[in-house]
């Protein structure tokens, strides 16, 4: 049934929400609102008797009570074709780069969840050439992992590097609440390296209407899902999910919903989970891997957004002082892949982290003025070499080289018997210094 009637009277306006009387309207369908403020899409978010509540994507500012509202009879769709690659769009799918509109293959967004019985065990490593990831917390195809960082950390730079270096067929970038120059920087970085041609961007900048921010993950993931079903390995980068959660909060409060924790809506967990759970490895088709940025207000991991995220995702990377912290960072799926890389992978990983933990204790002791033993001196030397050789984000080497470097650092600082590595392996790999 196509509802081509045009309505001319809006009864109530608040935030980005408008209410009017209309008939035959379907829940979640899309409408076009034409007003003095211009034309915008809107979505039905509540039906109550004759009253229809609409969320206007461009916001309600300037929308007049005599605005024309036309219901389209269908839900939100996003076009999908290879022509998307290399392009940038807004949260509601409008071109952001001056290019032509793409209208092929409209596909609905926010589709049902994947049947758990049709998932397969994640088993393939995604190489990034960043030792702190590849060696210590390997990223796995179909994993969902957030980067936890406080404001000001170079998380977008890290994301861009992973995008450039990770082996994937298609990259989908969802930007939420980005500053405009951040968007440009991200885009230029991809362009310079030639990765833009396999990238599609859906970007909401801080100046855009709040509602579009909420649409970004859905649109990005709907497109990613289409690519994955056609056999592509898709890497989805979402930055920043805290802005997404804040947009949800803003809308929920406008709708007079009862807040649960620090003003966030009670369904924050379900909202985040329904996006992150789109990460999947399809049996017989492609895959979706999700890397997201979650900024921690006040560097507080118990803040509702990072906290709920941690319960949903398969681990997390802590970005602190421009480095991926070895403690707290965790890839829950690394065990699935690091047994099949090189025989010394797990051993080097464990040994180096344990020694780095000891180094941290030594630094503490040193700062308290305790005397440094010969072993402490060795640890201090090791810690410095480890931070420089492995943790520095500018280090860019494949896993095998990183492992070799690991042995080299160990051999420079310690004797063979001191590092807690089984003799069988150290005999084979211990380099002559």
């Amino acid at each position: 049934m196509f509802n081509n009637k045009v309505y001319h009277k809006i009864d109530a306006l608040s935030g980005s929400v408008a209410t009017l009387r209309a008939e035959g309207v379907k829940y979640n369908e899309i409408a076009v609102v034409e007003s003095r403020a211009g034309t915008s899409l809107a979505q039905v978010i509540k039906l109550d008797g004759p009253n229809v509540t609409l969320q206007i994507f461009a916001g309600a500012r300037g929308v007049d009570t005599a605005a024309k509202v036309r219901f389209l009879g269908e839900t939100m769709k996003v076009s999908f074709s290879d022509a998307l690659l290399g392009r940038a769009f807004t949260g509601s799918g409008e071109p952001r780069d001056g290019g032509p509109e793409i209208e092929e293959n409209p596909s609905p967004i926010g589709q049902p969840s994947v049947n758990p019985a049709k998932r397969i065990m994640p088993h393939q490593m995604v190489r990034t050439n960043i030792p702190m990831i590849d060696l210590f917390n390997s990223l796995v195809k179909s994993q969902k992992l957030p980067i936890f960082a406080k404001a000001g950390e170079p998380y977008n730079e890290l994301l861009a590097r992973i995008a450039l270096q990770a082996d994937s067929d298609v990259i989908v970038i969802g930007g939420m609440g980005l500053k405009y120059d951040e968007y440009l920087k991200l885009r230029n970085t991809l362009d310079k390296s030639g990765a833009l041609s396999k990238t599609v961007m859906y970007v909401h900048t801080a100046a855009d209407p709040t509602v579009e921010c909420v649409l970004v993950p859905d649109v990005s993931l709907a497109v990613a899902e289409k690519f994955a079903l056609s056999g592509k390995d898709v890497l989805v980068l979402l930055t920043n999910m805290t802005s997404f959660a804040d947009a949800l909060k803003e809308i929920a409060i406008t709708m007079e919903q009862i807040p649960s924790n620090r003003g966030y809506p009670g369904d924050l967990y379900s909202q985040l989970a329904s996006r992150y759970e789109k990460a999947v490895d399809f049996d017989g088709a492609g895959s979706i891997t999700i890397l997201a940025v979650t900024t921690m207000p006040g560097d507080d991991v118990t803040h509702p957004v990072p906290d709920n995220t941690g319960y949903i995702t398969e681990g997390q990377f802590y970005l602190r002082n421009g480095r991926i912290e070895p403690f707290g960072s965790l890839s829950r799926l690394k065990q699935q892949v690091n047994k099949a890389t090189r025989e010394d992978h797990r051993t080097v990983m464990d040994a180096m982290i344990k020694l780095y933990a000891q180094y941290k204790e030594t630094v503490e002791k040193q700062s308290m003025g305790f005397r440094m033993s010969a072993w402490d001196q060795k640890l201090l030397k090791y810690g410095e070499a480890f931070e420089k050789g492995m943790m520095d984000l500018s280090v860019n080497i494949p896993l095998e080289q990183a492992l070799d470097l690991g042995w080299k650092i160990l051999a420079q600082c310690f004797d063979k018997g001191e590092v807690g590595i089984p003799t069988k392996l150290s005999d084979k790999f211990w380099p002559a210094v």
Binding site: P112, N115, M121, D267
Partner: protein, 589 residues
């Protein structure tokens, strides 16, 4: 005549329906959307309107769309065919859903299709029914009338899967006729019952039972006194769970809740395990799905999956069926309990279930309680855990349902409504601590904060003594952070090392090591004896370094010992090695 209604409002997964005729609270209805029928449950009635939560996305519904009521409450199908199944929260078998969806298109089979519901029990499968009741027998609700073979329940090493008279039967009935031994489907009539006033009832192998109502076909509830063997040392010895008891595992993310639940599902000495993945990651369920069929259950020699049912309503699946999933799980458990079996329900995580209630309550615009949870949160949690218990059945045998629920408190802070409401009603508290999991001390059950009201596999006073050393060791450890090792007396230092030793060799257990992952009670007793000997020993070392060296060495040998199969030659020689080391260090006393 069935009642119908028209939709008058849609808000998220909640619809308001104006109905004609009569409806019941929690009655199920279907909203008609084109060729799809979306299942919904009544959660509130006001005048001639009712609010219903829809178990699917409500996208596309309009004002005036028809709702058909069924006259039934949300129910589970009970009968043969449930074991080894993977269901969603409404008991739809997920593998069958995929098969059915593949008829739509190739891509469609990957996704859960809206409005697609399939029977929980296979309709075409035939079961070898063996009658055990004869015509003329007096039958009450839940009385067995026969059995079938289902997997490990073969009437040989394990009893057969009992076919029972409907749990809804009122009063005493007489068995009029019963079919001969043979193969029947779950919907075939297998017996006829006659009531005292002459009414007849056809009995099938399958029966339906409303999931939110406890099954009460037993003569009395018994006190849960027997320890449920989980083979996790810190649980069985220090914070035991009882057969028919309840316990909870709260902990921050990454503390190992799910691994602990999976280990328990694997090794716990029970007959049936029902694992409810409620609002958690789908990936973890997949691990269970792929691993369990490969693991052999030592008790039956068959795949572990044959004693397991998985209820899987992961975080991205509809919230309303998440709310239903824990009830479905416990109803299935009660069914097996009625056969005289011991059943373990593992709910991961009850916080997600509570959040589902919160979402629902918010949409109903109810006045919120703490952190916007509904005021009835506590009574719902209490009522859920109260469905656990050990019961005496009418034939004198006993069956039990044990419930273990994880709790995912916001920010890892236990002072939140769900943890607190749960702690009030459970018999055991296994609090996981971030500090322990960061230090890679797994299972991360905090030995100082956790508690249990149930009986340990070791005598209580011996356990208390060991805990006292843990507590004292912790105090000394705190002190040492301030005054350093130098400022600590040798005696205190030894106590500290004893506590660390107990932690390292007994409390910590490697879930990924074949031998260490599971410690049967007999082995726990032997190990505890050895630990106790060490804790009680009066060591006298000249200085701290020697003390530390001794304990590190003892600890290493002990950990090697843990890795050896019980009562193997290596096990015995390491045991005497340990005894020798301890004896040497206390020489002359």
């Amino acid at each position: 005549m069935t009642t119908t209604g028209k939709i008058s409002a849609v808000n998220g997964n909640m619809i308001t329906v104006a109905f004609d005729g009569a409806v019941a609270q929690n009655e199920v209805g279907y909203a008609i959307l084109g060729d799809k029928r979306l299942m919904a449950e009544i959660v509130r009635v006001r005048g001639d309107r009712c609010d219903m939560q829809v178990f699917d996305s409500t996208t596309g519904l309009s004002i005036g769309d028809t709702v058909e009521f069924t006259g039934e409450l949300l129910a589970a199908e009970l009968g043969p065919g449930m074991l080894a199944q993977v269901y969603d929260g409404l008991q739809n078998p997920l593998a069958d859903l995929a098969k059915e969806a593949s008829k739509i298109s190739k891509d469609a089979e990957y996704f859960l299709q809206r409005g697609m519901y399939l029977p929980g029990l296979p309709r075409d499968r035939k079961w070898d029914f063996h009658p055990t009741a004869a015509p003329g027998a007096r039958i009450s609700a839940g009385d067995p009338i026969g059995w079938v073979t289902e997997g490990i329940f073969d009437n040989k090493t394990m009893p057969g899967h009992k076919i029972m008279a409907p749990f809804s039967l009122k009063g005493v009935w007489t068995l009029k006729d019963i079919v001969a031994e043979g193969d029947y489907t779950v919907t075939d009539d297998i017996a006829t019952l006659v009531s005292q006033d002459g009414g007849e009832l056809k009995v099938k192998m399958m029966q339906r039972w409303p999931v939110k109502v406890p099954i009460k076909c037993f003569t009395e509830r018994l006190e849960p006194t027997e320890t449920l063997e989980t083979t996790v040392r810190t649980i069985d010895t220090f914070f035991p769970v009882a057969v028919g008891g309840t316990y909870c595992i709260p902990g921050p993310f990454g503390a190992g809740k799910t691994v602990l639940q999976q280990t328990t599902a694997r090794y716990a000495k029970v007959d049936v395990v029902i694992s409810a993945a409620c609002g958690e990651r789908a990936g973890e369920v997949v691990e269970t799905l792929k691993e369990f069929p490969e693991i052999v259950d030592p008790k039956t020699g068959q795949s572990l999956m044959k004693r397991t049912i998985i209820i899987c309503n992961t975080s991205s699946m509809p919230v309303a069926s998440r709310e239903a999933s824990v009830y479905t799980a416990v109803t299935l458990a009660e069914y097996f309990r009625q056969m005289g079996l011991n059943v373990l329900v593992l709910a991961d995580s009850t916080s997600r279930w509570a959040q589902a209630m919160r979402e629902l309550s918010g949409r109903l615009e109810e006045i919120p309680g703490e952190e916007a949870f509904p005021a009835y949160l506590e009574s719902r949690i209490a009522a859920f855990y109260e469905r656990a218990g050990r019961v005496k059945l009418r034939d004198g045998s006993t069956g039990s349902v044990t419930i273990g629920g994880t709790v995912s408190p916001a920010g890892g802070n236990f002072d939140e409504p769900v943890t607190q409401a749960t702690l009030k009603v459970v018999g055991g508290f296994h609090g996981l601590s971030r500090a322990r999991s960061d230090a890679r001390r797994y299972p991360a059950i905090d030995p100082l904060d956790s508690w249990s009201h149930y009986n340990s596999v070791i005598e209580q006073e011996r356990v208390e003594k060991a805990r006292a050393i843990l507590r004292r060791g912790n105090e000394i450890g705190q002190m040492m952070k301030v005054v350093g090792e130098e400022g600590t007396s040798l005696e205190d230092f030894t106590t500290y090392l004893k506590a660390e030793f107990l932690d390292a060799v007994y409390l910590q257990q490697n879930a990924f090591s074949e031998s260490d992952a599971t410690t049967p009670v007999a082995r726990q007793r032997v190990m505890f004896d050895m630990v106790e000997k060490t804790l009680a020993a009066d060591f006298e070392f000249p200085e701290k370094d020697a003390t530390r060296k001794f304990f590190l060495d003892l600890q290493q040998t002990f950990i090697d010992w843990n890795d050896k199969p019980f009562e193997s030659e290596d096990f015995k020689s390491l045991k005497s090695g340990l005894e020798k080391k301890i004896a040497e260090a206390t020489d002359g006393k």
